[in-house]
């Protein structure tokens, strides 16, 4: 069973997990919740955007610039598949391993 390497990296897993629970989240909210720096978040968000999993939207609230992140349909599908794979791995009974070893 292969886990999606784009999602499975530690920080990107946290980013995608957070975005999966939301329709959209502000950049600063993601940063503050995950307790990472702007540069780390920007780097991993860009990687997720390149993979087609995340859409980055820039806008303004009054005069203040805001950046919003959201999972794309492709990203959400990839995350669902990733979670399903994890659940399959975790759900494997130990007897399967011992039978293979024997």
């Amino acid at each position: 069973m292969n886990l999606d390497p784009v999602i499975h990296a530690p920080v990107r897993l946290q980013i995608v997990s957070l975005l999966a629970a939301a329709t959209e989240a502000e950049f600063s909210f993601v940063r503050d919740n995950l307790e990472i720096s702007d540069s780390v978040l920007s780097k991993h968000a860009a990687a997720l955007e390149t993979a087609g999993y995340v859409h980055i939207r820039k806008g303004h609230v009054g005069k203040r610039p805001r950046t919003w992140l959201k999972l794309t349909d492709q990203g959400r599908a990839a995350f669902r598949e990733y979670v399903a794979t994890l659940q399959q791995i975790v759900g494997q009974p130990l007897t399967d391993v011992t039978e293979e070893a024997g």
């Binding site: 920080v11 897993l13 997990s17 939301a22 989240a25 502000e26 919740n33 995950l34 959400r76």
Partner: protein, 153 residues
Amino acid sequence: MDRMPNAAEALAEIERTQQKAFAGQRLPLWWLPAVVALITVVSIAFDLHGATRSVLLIGAALGLAVMTAVLALRARVKSRRQVWTPRAAAWASAWLLSFFVLFGVTPPLVWLVTDSAIWPKIISGVVVSLYGVMTIRWAERQIMADTQGKVAQ
């Protein structure tokens, strides 16, 4: 989390991250009393007449619009419906219903000591505001507790 997690760790991290994100979306404590105060002003306005009534109603409407706008501006995340469970929705509904019960029960108690049409509403507003401030964090924890174990995808 600095290293590649195993499958169980990854699942646990997904749930932990989502729970923490939900916990970060709390209503500011001042917001609920402000809204209750404005609703109380509307309620009192309906007992008055003429220009006073109009001014109070327009002021309260503008105030409620500002409260809504403030909440919208402060929102840093837009949550999905999928994260709600029936138990969490039940807790939220019961808590909101308790406000209406308190609004209905308080005025008759105040009428026991006064014939005023306005004082029962003012006292009801104060009581409901205090109740809201005292219970909002507890209500949020109850609702949060009932979303645990459900991973939003």
